[in-house]
Amino acid sequence: MAVYKRGYRRYQGPLTGRWARFMVLPRYAWRRLYQQRLVLMLTLLAMVWPVLCAGFVYLTNHVELLQGLDPDFRRFIQVDATFFSYFMYVQGGFAVFLAALAGPGLIAPDLANNTLPLYFSRSFSRWDYGLARLAVLVGMLSIVTWVPGLLLFGFQVALAGGWWFRMNWTLGAGMVAGFVLWLLVLSLVAMASSAYVKWRVVAAGVSLAFFFLLSGIAEMIDNVFRVTWGHVLDPAWAVNRVWCALLQVEAPEGPGATASATALGVMIVLLVLVIERKLRPVEVVS
């Protein structure tokens, strides 16, 4: 029978599980995000570097193609920690812009439209909501960071053989761990700016300014007090320091990986607290 003829009847069928309900918001958000041309274009653009890297991996594993090249250059082009660190810098940069582009559209509209009471009046908690929004960004950024990174790693293993994996498996694990840490910071910064700034463009600006501002403050502290520990306040520097430790490449001068990881951990906790304050179904004015 046609819907318009049927009339309303209460639904009394089976209900989905907790995980399926949790994935509702990410599913709808991804659909809406990838309908935006700019997001789609930036995602596609972010795939160019992994494709070039894949070409590089192919080249280094086919000696016959390198016959005519200079021996020094042949020694230089290798798939090692430095190669993966370059891959991570470029993809990490794309992730910053993608987070700034997609993040503001997640929480701000829900706050502006007063939608939170509708979500929280169902069996969907504030933590579920926060984690669902985080999953939107982390999932989206994963597509341009650790997922292609892991594919690249797998490609290299496939071409070089099992011995290469046994020698370098820490590179793959380090890359995933390093990216996950960076994505967490990026996503939380984007969510916090979205929770506090109503206008998308301004929220995107705030999201980007956060990194530049902290970088400037870190540089200022270092120069004024003639120290190097100020770097830990710069999330980009701190995450780079952690990446260097994870991939075991030469690290820049300054605080160690543990200090940098701790600083990032504190930053993540503070961002979670800042977001938690805003994600309430009702605002209590004292």
Partner: protein, 329 residues
């Protein structure tokens, strides 16, 4: 058979900041699964919204507890909320989403599988009269359509209990009638329990079976409208000239009760079966001259005004009220 109340409050206290908004409310409202509506009335700041927000688990009680459909709002909030639909007072929707997508998302969040959610979204939009506009973005809707969309999202998952906060706000008379008809259908045909919070006494009177009147964070009156209607009391406003000092003592002769408002003005309650003629005769026996006599059945407005203290209660009612509250007159 053991009946589960829709709402059960035990010494419920809620603080917002330093201010205590609800001062230890205890009551049992409605019976789960009976398809009855409870009206929540009260002036601004009485604590109605705070009570609703506490029942939904949005606010934490500072003392006591609140149970909804037999589940503790804090400890088993998720379980309780899965059986509730909530229509908030203010605009709440995703403006750049079409009504059908919005409702589908809300239904899926409530646990409906995607196909069933889509089907129910269409079904409920036709039910509330938004069938032709279901693919339009919600921000393009008029105020009345938005109210209907809010109602639709509250019932799309077929909840046992629907909490409606000011459902007829901003509606024109035709839309208001339609909304009230839908609300009445929800309880009669779907067996849903309702909690309706409104300032409009007419709305409450039309759709509710039970009424709770709140004032200053307390429940000042709780009555069963069905029983009130059935009791069929007749209220008389009387204005007489002459010495009316003995009238109050004489009223029980005809089983009536009344209170003097001074200047010869009286408010009298006639019990069922006693006609106004009996009062005419009594007044004549008292040698009083009737200047004005109007009579009507009890209305919710009367009950509300009495609860707010704008009307004096008759001595019998005052005694009954004091007895109910356990304190002397």
């Amino acid at each position: 058979m053991d009946t589960v109340p829709v709402v059960e409050l035990e010494n419920l206290k809620v603080r917002l900041g330093r201010r205590e908004i609800l001062h230890g409310i205890t009551c049992r409202l409605g019976v789960s699964g009976t398809g009855k509506a409870v009206g929540l009335l009260g002036p601004n700041g009485a604590g109605k919204s705070t009570l609703i927000l506490t029942l939904l688990g949005f606010l934490r009680p500072s003392a006591g507890r609140a149970l909804i459909l037999g589940r503790d709002c804090r400890r088993h909030g998720g379980e309780a909320r899965s059986r509730i639909g909530y229509m908030p007072e203010n605009d709440s929707f995703i403006g750049d989403m079409s009504a059908v997508t919005f409702l589908r998302q809300m239904a899926e969040l409530s646990g409906l599988p995607p196909e069933a959610a889509l089907e129910k979204a269409h079904e409920v939009l036709f039910h509330v009269g938004l069938g032709e506009a279901r693919y339009r973005e919600l921000r393009t809707y008029s105020l009345g359509m938005k109210q209907m969309a809010k109602l639709a999202q509250a019932i799309v998952h077929g909840p046992e209990l629907v909490v409606l906060d000011e459902p007829t706000n901003g509606l024109d008379p035709a839309a208001r009638r339609r909304m009230l008809r839908l609300v009445a259908e929800m309880k009669k045909e779907q067996g849903m329990n309702l909690i309706v919070c409104s300032h409009l006494l007419g709305d409450i009177e039309q759709v509710c079976d039970e009424v709770v009147i709140m004032k200053d964070g307390l429940i000042v009156h709780h009555c069963n409208l069905e029983e009130e209607r059935r009791s069929n009391k007749c209220f008389v406003e009387l204005e007489v000239t002459g010495d009316d000092g003995q009238l109050r003592a004489a009223l029980p002769e005809i089983g009536a009760d009344g209170v003097s408002e001074g200047g010869g003005r009286w408010r009298i309650v006639l019990p069922p079966g006693v006609e106004v003629d009996a009062l005419w005769a009594l007044v004549a026996r008292q040698n009083l001259l009737v200047r004005k006599l109007t009579h009507r059945r009890d209305t919710l407005e009367e009950i509300f005004l009495k609860a707010m203290g704008h009307l004096a209660a008759t001595p019998v009612e005052a005694a009954a009220s004091s007895e109910a509250q356990g304190r002397p007159l």
